[in-house]
Symmetry: C2
Subunit: 480 residues, 2 copies
Amino acid sequence: MTKEIGITVKKSLDFSDWYTQCVLKSGIADYSPSKGFIILRPYGYAIWEIIRETLDEELKKTGHKNGFLPVLIPESLLTKEKDHFDGFLPEVFWVTKSGDCDLGEKLAVRPTSETLAYSMFSKWISSYRDLPLKLNFWNSALRAEIKSTKPLIRNSEFLWQEGHTAHADENEANKEVRMILDIYKMLIEEYLAIPTLSGFKTDKERFVGAKYTTCLESAMPDGKALQMATSHHLGQNFSKPFEIKFLDKDTAEQYVWQTSWGISWRVIGAIIMVHGDDKGLILPPKISPTQVIIVPIYKDESKTIVKQKAYELEQKLKDSLIRVQTDDRDEYTSGWKFNDWEMKGVPLRVNIGLRDIQENQVELIRRDTKERFYVKERELVNQTLSILEKIQSNMFDRAKNLLQENTRSATTLEELLSVLDATGGFVACSWCGKRECEDLVKEKTTADIRIVPFNAKNNISSCIGCGNQETIEVYFGRAY
Amino acid sequence: MTKEIGITVKKSLDFSDWYTQCVLKSGIADYSPSKGFIILRPYGYAIWEIIRETLDEELKKTGHKNGFLPVLIPESLLTKEKDHFDGFLPEVFWVTKSGDCDLGEKLAVRPTSETLAYSMFSKWISSYRDLPLKLNFWNSALRAEIKSTKPLIRNSEFLWQEGHTAHADENEANKEVRMILDIYKMLIEEYLAIPTLSGFKTDKERFVGAKYTTCLESAMPDGKALQMATSHHLGQNFSKPFEIKFLDKDTAEQYVWQTSWGISWRVIGAIIMVHGDDKGLILPPKISPTQVIIVPIYKDESKTIVKQKAYELEQKLKDSLIRVQTDDRDEYTSGWKFNDWEMKGVPLRVNIGLRDIQENQVELIRRDTKERFYVKERELVNQTLSILEKIQSNMFDRAKNLLQENTRSATTLEELLSVLDATGGFVACSWCGKRECEDLVKEKTTADIRIVPFNAKNNISSCIGCGNQETIEVYFGRAY
């Protein structure tokens, strides 16, 4: 038995403690002995595998290929693009020794792979025939977290994918940046059931070394904003220092245009935060490693027959490609199992006992609405398929309401501050585009511009900072 | 166009140069700017993905679950099992700084994860209900190569999987060790088409910290032995220092019994070495990312119709789950394409031209035997399926002959040395079991005992070292 049973704090009372308990007790992750690092346990990794497979398929369909880059990057490469290096410097882990020997040159433990990848691009690209080059890497990145850490949201090492592409012209790179953002949005909204705002980062917030950054942002139930994924246009900022050049069809030499983009296991943290309740996780069916858990309810004398029926139902559901499991462990009570699978967030539970068998029925329990109802055994597969779909869309709808409730607007600094303090979330404001006004708001409210929406509205009101009349609408928020 | 066309050296004349050209020119891998590190390019990574998926499925079927462990391991953990630490110490990369700050404790960049995993096992295991615990990790390991490096065979970082299990009793751990070795053998023989010898390592050669090590060994065409995979019984060597204890059904406290095991991308190197020829790679169909390459042969006026037919054939083959691709690039000649796909080792090529269309036929070219023949279009799918099977088994048979030819025997040190110098490969000798004799042979011949076969024969002749009459048969070889 686990030492502490279930989540012991309400989501609404202590969100932070509730979240940590959800992560640890459901078997998603655990703390590593090194401060700031976590371990992904099988339940968490299984979710990551589904996310990875889903995204990987989309990336392959759109012509991207996977590769592997070493985790250690020579200092001399990392320093080649100055803004990039300055941005990452404070959080880089450095290898300085191998065995007992000091290394001639320090090696950075991958904070991100632009520099290493592009040192290779300059070798691989020489002709227009080599373009576009569209590579992706499933790996982990390391950034020493000096601020407070939070499992899956902010750690010194995280699983992610990083995409790196090179194109013959600027506009093709523009299209790539947006296509990738669309794929991320599809993944996050349709699979993770989390609605997002999409748009640009401001110059202050863009990726170090990028020409511009696009991103997806979501609101968490505690009112904080969470960056879900980013897709960057790098312009020729890297191709020039790394000399990534190609001969075009007219044999003129040109620098390539580049993009990079990534999404991390942080989205698993978002799933927990957005969908979970006081009993624990609620997983969207499309990414739940177990979509249906069958719990046979038996006494000693009915054990064989009830388990037999459970396996039979499991097989039927499996045949319809439903991810299903039977919890047939004798060493745990049915009540313990109910609580455990609820905490783990399995979307649908099937209870089956001797009485049910006699009546050719099973009991279904929805995790999202807690509804319980009986269905005839012969209708189990169809009902399950249809309920799983309903759960998926209900979860998205609930989350969408949450985002709408958490999106407000303000026209003055005072109003912005009071909205942020009262409820958090995103606050739409007008902004003149100047860094000073962005900094002023940050200083007064600790909020950043999370996103400049694509097709942002112009001149709705005057700038929240300086009162200037020429403005665009942006969303402020306090971030994780 | 690539700068140098094709492999420029014969396999039989300069095996080492031939191998490196195969790796680099086929697009499998490239050198990283850091000495000793390589990059896996899309073609190499695609092979790794197929190997990974195949093995992952087997591991999941047998109850193993995947997880993620951080790449940095505190020094204090790594030192807990002394033999283990001493064994890895010379090749460990150490992180000593983050940003500009010195770390309080050095962090090792994962040479292997026993210590980190088992520090967690002690937290996760408390009852017999928590056993067996069978985890697997797909990641990379880093070991500073001080000797010469060879792409995929010996590098400072390599992709692999590492399995770690804990069991309630010793015999269950014994069974796990052998079951995993059987899975590896199935993968290597049935998928990679490489025959292996299986058995134990001697005490001298076993994994540092293990009670015993089992392994698979293969012979490469240059006469060197290559260790393909290992599976270790760790006894209670780690569970004691890491205090991994559980209460059994009688509530008595016991230490767990453990295993660990791994296979790396080195097997891709073995595929290249064993199967390749002067034209480049020959990939076994079961792990070839592209099993069939269709090359439409056209002039300007026949382009549309020939390409159209090629796409139609591609679709038919795809519908039968064959991994097929059409090389429809106008910027390369057919001859260039033939050479390129030959170098990449695609097992079967389909040529299709205007004349073939008129005669309802296509030309098939086998990569392994270079045979060419025409088949009727309507028979294409069936013929392809059957030829791919034939190629797979022909490749295994050829490799099996190679292994048999490369397995000899010797009864004296002089004979052993002359066999090793003349042909290399495995040499069966009788050995008394003493370390001194093993060391003596190493000193005189530079060969190690690669493997003590399961059910090794006893007392065939006297010990190759000391002449003692009580012996077992072992295989000596010079290793990579």
